[in-house]
Amino acid sequence: MNEREKIVKRVAQELEDGMVVNLGIGMPTMVGNFIPEDMRIILQSENGMLGMGELADESNSDCNIVNAGSKHVTANIGACFFDSATSFGIIRGGHVDLTVLGALQVDSSGSLASHIIPKKMVPGMGGAMDLVTGSKRVIIAMTHTAKNGAPKILESITLPATAISKVDMIVTELAVIEVTPKGLLLIEISEDTTVEQVLQKTEAPLVVSSGLKTF
């Protein structure tokens, strides 16, 4: 199992029957592949859809139905479509139970940076700021460190903030971390690693849970 699959499978364990969930572009989208068969999850796509199905192929592709990453998707039975104001009313108004997205940096207070590296990567925030501001629960799914090994879980983010104190949980290939009012709580580590290794790759102070588990 590669890193990304490990991360999204662990995130999928946070799903509960009946939840309305928004999955960000990229790795978070893969969480949709691990929804338990006996569970009904209603996927929201911010371009204006509830009840989004799987990525479409040639047999079931409809040029009028795409996800927020511009990929053709299927619509589940009972799916509905709406305009962008309604879509973000759903998001900002607290009607999305869970949003899963990636991040460049997350910090001890649950603030995150995900939408810009000044002068290098300026794609725009798209729907990310509204999603993390309005969703009932926010999980960050990301690799524990940057490609060059630099820590991404910091005491304070250094890149421009996408939102302040909105993250509830961080899931990486090495650890599951809860954001609490007292800071970051390490609740699970990968069976392939040690607490020492996780602490070494995390700049932010971590409190190790007394009930630490492995995943």
């Binding site: 040029c63 973000f88 002068k119 725009g124 509204d130 903030a161």
Partner: protein, 217 residues
């Protein structure tokens, strides 16, 4: 009474105008109107849209043709050209959170003086904006957006300009229909009055000034 060709539609758009364009990464963007604007060689537009499409489709055609001077959008990540022109200082880009963009356009069309949103508090988006406290919670005051022209894409449009949108082509189109002085809708299919059941009409025809036939499916 409301029909015109794409070429005639482009004729309504003058250099320097502010133009809202519907669509989400080109899904729901009126491609025939993009092509007609490129053909006309219009310049110095201020474009208000969610994004600039994809490298080969939608609003990126206008960007590539040098027709856009200023852009107000939420995301340009799928079109590297837009980012490149932005970093070279050739395109003035203002990035707005997507939900805020939608509400600012809605406010512009609904006669509202703005909207109060928690999105962007504590971030660069809040710089220079008024923070308003309502019942102990803070919000950013975001001002309305309007345009000279809105260019929409409808799946089925009747002769009065009533619009039905298929799937996710709806996105910003119904909002922009309300927020511009002149509204032009490119139609995949035009039907007689009564051809769309009233309950399925999303954009009432009173918002629409002109219909252009021939938008590809």
């Amino acid at each position: 009474m409301k029909r015109m060709t794409a070429e005639q539609a482009a004729g309504k758009i003058e250099d320097g105008m502010t133009v809202m364009i519907g669509g989400f990464m080109s899904c729901g963007t009126p491609e025939i109107l993009m092509d007609a604007l490129v053909e006309k060689g219009v310049k110095d537009l201020t474009v208000i849209s969610n994004d600039t499409g994809t490298p080969d489709t939608g609003i990126c055609k206008l960007v590539a043709a040098g027709a856009v001077k200023k852009l107000i959008a939420s995301h340009i990540g799928l079109t590297p050209l837009t980012g490149q022109l932005m970093s070279e200082g050739k395109l003035d880009v203002t990035l707005v959170p997507q939900g805020t963009l939608a509400e600012r356009i809605r406010a512009g069309g609904a006669g509202l003086g703005g909207v109060l949103t928690p999105t962007g508090l504590g971030t660069d988006v809040a710089i220079g904006k008024e923070i308003v406290s309502i019942d102990g919670r803070e919000y950013l005051l975001e001002k309305p957006l309007r345009a000279d022209v809105a260019l929409l894409r409808g799946s089925i449009v009747d002769e009065d300009g009533n619009i039905f949108y298929r799937g996710t082509t709806r996105n910003f189109n119904p909002l922009m229909a309300t927020a511009a002085d002149l509204v032009i809708a490119a139609a995949e299919e035009i039907v007689p009055l009564g051809g769309i059941q009233g309950e399925n009409i999303v954009t009432p025809g009173i918002f629409v000034d002109y219909i252009v036939e021939g938008e590809p499916a």
